[in-house]
Amino acid sequence: MTEGSSLPGAIAAAPRPTRAEPVRLSSRSRRRIAGAARTLTILLVILVFFGPVVWIMLTALKQPRDVYSLSVIFTPTLDNLRTAFASPYFLGSRTLNSIIVTTGTIVLSLPIATAAAYAFSRFRFPGGNAWSLGVLATQFIPPVIIIIPLFVAFRSAGLLDTRLALIIANMSFVVPYSIWMIKGFIDAIPADMEEAAQIDGASRLRAIWDVVVPMAIPGIATAAIFAFVVSWNEFFYALVLSRQDAVTLQVGLMGARTERGDAWEIMAAMGLVIILPMLVLSRYVQRYFVAGLVSGSVR
């Protein structure tokens, strides 16, 4: 029986201070209130996180005159997307730039980061941890400080306004973080397996490829997702280093802030394209990412 059912008798026998009364709810109603509070909190969180996404989706389909109304009933149109793909917004080529820059960053960063992570994990360097920590320490320098020298360097290399420049700039922060993510995983892989592989006849490189990499996959996947998210969303370097040919989606978004005011519906249309891969990502690979972040070890 619940605690509540024995209450009346107990009160009759021993009167207690009235202040305690309201707290002594039956456990069933207490549970119900807790449940409601939880639901409410969840709804609030959903609103905060998904409200803007929903707003962008709706706005992208609205006609300019409906943009400022909060109504969800309107005649949807694809005009905004059409406009965004045309001059002067060039959503198509900007999307392509973003895709190429992001893919390039991932494809170049992961092998480098994996190799470096392996080296930091398995070899002892003169100076100990200084090197691997140093790699991370480079990230404490704010981008605003290095952007001017970087700009000058890219200009003299003739790389301004190229996708390669953006890839290199992205790698400057993707590679260090990826090294550390992957290193954590490789640290957890016992050395005997690659030793076994070497005795079985594999070269060190082959042992890494056959044994270490497959076991570090969760870490590499984590790094890949991280690399994707940050390079896809990268704004600052792209803003400074691109002008026309290499402009990415993120920078292109700024193009909708015209002298005639902010074209919210165009921004929303672009925003749709920007968040699309994120939605896909969160649907399919988030599981990996979470597993990678929390486990950090292999079985």
């Binding site: 016992p190 005997d192 397996m193 030793e195 076994a196 592989a197 070497q198 005795i199 079985d200 006849g201 594999a202 070269s203 060190r204 082959r206 056959d210 044994v211 497959p214 076991m215 292999v298 079985r299």
Partner: protein, 358 residues
């Protein structure tokens, strides 16, 4: 097939010296067992032969070729790791087949050889499993199968049976012995288990503290231990060791006097006698008088621990023996089976009527 030689090999980890000047020569086709307590450097020795650890000094030769600078893959050895070293992301079949895969052996040839190796270690039905779905003993057998799937120059086995149950251990022991004989592959085998060492080895190297204490046939090691360490380490129960003095041809220790053909110039010695060379007798009828301290039935015999004077001696009595705690008892020692060791150096002392030469 090839011989393995270690010439003056040393290994230091930082300031810690794990192996001091190791000389070891394993003949072509020989089965050599490294036996010693935990931490004595057995695994380290193996890893140096395999090329996983660099020798700090000395030379390692396989088949007469100096391999100090050769990569593990170029040494053509197969190794069973103490902690298996299986590839967790590969199935049992892929694990066993990996050495073949690396060497470009594929298709039905590989499949057949994997199957045969797996059957030798009774893994047949588990080929599709992943290592994490196996018990410790099964993993160990996968490691073993991976080593025997091809015929290398040298087998290195680091306690390959330590995780098997008693029954399977006996079967696998015979399997390994047979296999080694059949293939004639030079084998270095590490174990803690004396029975394994005794049954498998052509020769046993008893190690302690990074030094080989004795390198000889199992019989010689058992019958003529070179020093106190070997005497106390080999045999179950360990050899009885009684410190005392030799004077006038008799051995004397508190409460114990043994007459025998002892060397005249005795001095302080330690007398060793195995439990099976000590027989029990009725009180007053033996050379050593004492009381029963404990008696343990082992199955085929009873081990009687007798306290005599200041020492405790273990005797092997027939299984019918019944003697309560503290009951008086006498012991007789087979004088021809006595071992003597120098009290100061721990070395074996050879004496007259023994044909052992030291």
């Amino acid at each position: 097939m090839a011989s393995v030689e270690l010439v003056g090999v040393e290994k230091r980890f930082g300031s810690f010296s794990a192996l001091q000047h190791l000389d070891l020569s394993v003949a072509d086709g020989e089965f050599l067992v490294l036996l010693g307590p935990s931490g004595c450097g057995k695994t380290t020795t193996m890893r140096m032969v395999a090329g996983l650890e660099e020798a700090t000094a000395g030379e390692i030769l396989i088949g007469g070729r100096r391999v100090n600078d050769a990569l593990p893959k170029d040494r053509d050895v197969a190794m069973v790791f103490q902690n298996y070293g299986l590839y967790p992301h590969m199935s049992v079949a892929q694990n066993i087949g990996y050495p073949l895969k690396v060497r470009g052996i594929g298709g039905p040839d590989r499949e057949g050889r994997v199957k045969r190796a797996a059957e030798k270690v009774e893994l047949g039905p588990l080929l599709h499993r992943k290592p994490r779905e196996l018990s410790g003993g099964q993993r160990q057998r996968v490691a073993l199968a991976r080593a025997i799937v091809r015929t290398p120059q040298v087998f290195l086995m680091d306690e390959p049976l330590s995780n098997l149950d008693a029954k399977l251990r006996v079967t696998m022991r015979a399997e390994i012995k047979h296999l080694q004989h059949e293939l004639g592959v030079t084998t270095i085998y590490v174990t803690h288990d004396q029975i394994e060492a005794m049954t498998l080895a052509h020769r046993v190297a008893v190690m302690n503290g990074g030094v080989i204490q004795q390198l000889d046939t199992p019989e010689a090691i058992y019958d003529r231990p070179a020093n106190l360490f070997v005497a106390g380490f080999i045999g179950s129960p360990p050899m009885n060791l009684v410190p005392g003095r030799i004077a006038g041809g008799t051995f004397q220790a508190p409460g114990i006097t043994i007459a025998g053909a002892f060397p005249a110039a005795g001095g302080d010695v330690i007398l060793g006698i195995r439990s099976e060379d000590v027989t029990i007798a009725a009180p007053g009828e033996g050379s050593i008088e004492g009381q029963v301290y404990a008696s343990e039935l082992t199955g085929e015999a009873v081990l009687v621990t007798v306290s005599a004077g200041g020492a405790r001696l273990i005797a092997r009595a027939p299984r019918s023996f019944r003697g309560g705690f503290g009951s008086p008892i006498a012991l007789n020692v087979d004088a021809g089976k006595i071992h003597l060791f120098d009290e100061a150096t721990g070395r074996r002392i050879a004496f007259a009527d023994r044909s052992d030469g030291g």
